[in-house]
Subunit: 319 residues, 2 copies
Amino acid sequence: MQNIVERLLNGDRRALARMVTLIESEAPSSRRYLAELHQHTGRAHIVGVTGAPGAGKSTLVTRMVRGLRKRDAKVGVIAIDPSSPFSGGAILGDRIRMMELAGDPNVFIRSMASRGSLGGLSSSTRDVVRAMDAAGYDPIIIETVGTGQAEVEVMRTAQTVLVVVAPGMGDDIQAIKAGILEIADIFVVSKADKPAADQTVAELAMLLSLDSNRRNASWRIPIVKTSSLKEQGIEQLIDSIQQHRQYLQESDMLAHRAHRQVRSELQALILHAVSNSLNAEVNEEEWKTLIADIDSRKRDPYTIASELQARIGLKTQRQ
Amino acid sequence: MQNIVERLLNGDRRALARMVTLIESEAPSSRRYLAELHQHTGRAHIVGVTGAPGAGKSTLVTRMVRGLRKRDAKVGVIAIDPSSPFSGGAILGDRIRMMELAGDPNVFIRSMASRGSLGGLSSSTRDVVRAMDAAGYDPIIIETVGTGQAEVEVMRTAQTVLVVVAPGMGDDIQAIKAGILEIADIFVVSKADKPAADQTVAELAMLLSLDSNRRNASWRIPIVKTSSLKEQGIEQLIDSIQQHRQYLQESDMLAHRAHRQVRSELQALILHAVSNSLNAEVNEEEWKTLIADIDSRKRDPYTIASELQARIGLKTQRQ
């Protein structure tokens, strides 16, 4: 009998599902398996899909998966957006469309909780991407709500980031400007059948023309209009993603992004270990005493933190 | 000449401003000062204001500050929302209103960057709250965009959380359900002059009636309508905040929340120290080599993370 790593590398869906469960439950074995899988990764293109709630991300992802299947791709989907039908939220119609996809052996869908510890989300997303990549899924689509830091962090895992904007969400343009613009590689104006769509396209185009800080001026961010009602835009969107992938490979951007991601992954892994160390060193009873002392102003948190650092062995930096 | 701690405790604004700068620049001295200040804190009521971009948070905060000043409160404001005029974003009119407030010696406004490391935001927010608290500001209002994990984390610093919803943002009700409901103590329906306001109030009331998981059923979440156009609702809102503060003091909720916050603060302080340790142990050249080895699949991140943990002294847990 083959072990889980071998089975996963052979594309066994149940082995992959099991691995994802191990990752999510933070089983110690998952790290060993992932260490073995690592050398078999780096093939998949990772596509992030983000945007405000109600922007139409889930419908778009569903249609993207169908379009990619027509081109014979083996597609992975990770849904972190809590309002996504992929995560069990949202409306019945969306969920039914998703169920259709889930029956396809060449589509692997997994939803992940957006709760949990702060670094935990991007870290487990990265691990699940790694497992899907090793199992031969390409591309891998990550869907998330894009406004928060944790979600922006997750989007950094992606190589091509789609920011989805629905027409008439004028206020959101401001929000995009603030946080999302710098990570967008492609803009998608969803619900393009709505009259306000052209206005939204114009606003985005203006926003892009004003942004002189683009890190990589060599990639001109396309604005793609899609409509599920009129069944428009998906082919063009998939082409745009493909063009961006090619651009990344031909420029040095792919390596640049990979380096940044590896570094943040290393840090996340270590912080996670620290958190485990703390839980092993300080029991509930002691936490209560420490907290009560701080709360009653008998002691201060900075001094106690220094003591705990010493107890988990952490070298203290000269200041 | 008095030192910065004494001057701050005497309410010297320049000393407070200097302290906030030290906190934001992560000066080692700030920890020593904050350790001293800690015993003088715990008096201020901390009010979080959150909601989607465009919900009208900034206008609301401006009006709240004016209302609180009428009641002779000394008010602190921390703005983390990047689209807030307090943070330098947003439209001119808002910014002018804010400038008026900033001229009042009993109002202290500080905006903070929502970038930076993940735990860093809630950690430095907490430190700035501590400094304002010690300087006699009460209440202290924290304004942030409420959808992301980092922002939710920041909101946990607050004792009373206002969730602001504008009429006609129907899609956002879904988002609120997913992430924000559990931290809301008061709902504010802004722009109540709009015809859709009553509908939004009804939807929120329904949402609340459906939520059987309320941790503290003894507090009935009020829904307060405000309108800057009609100058309505602010007095009622300030009263509701006051009632919630009283409720927290009379129930055991205040202690409960304080304990949870102290614990997460301790963890954040320690994680931050780890991050500093790593930067001291591994220089840029070595980071590059490690990252290149992982990127080329020569080595895997999990093994390298274990080695780095050993080098910063961290005890390894048996698994």
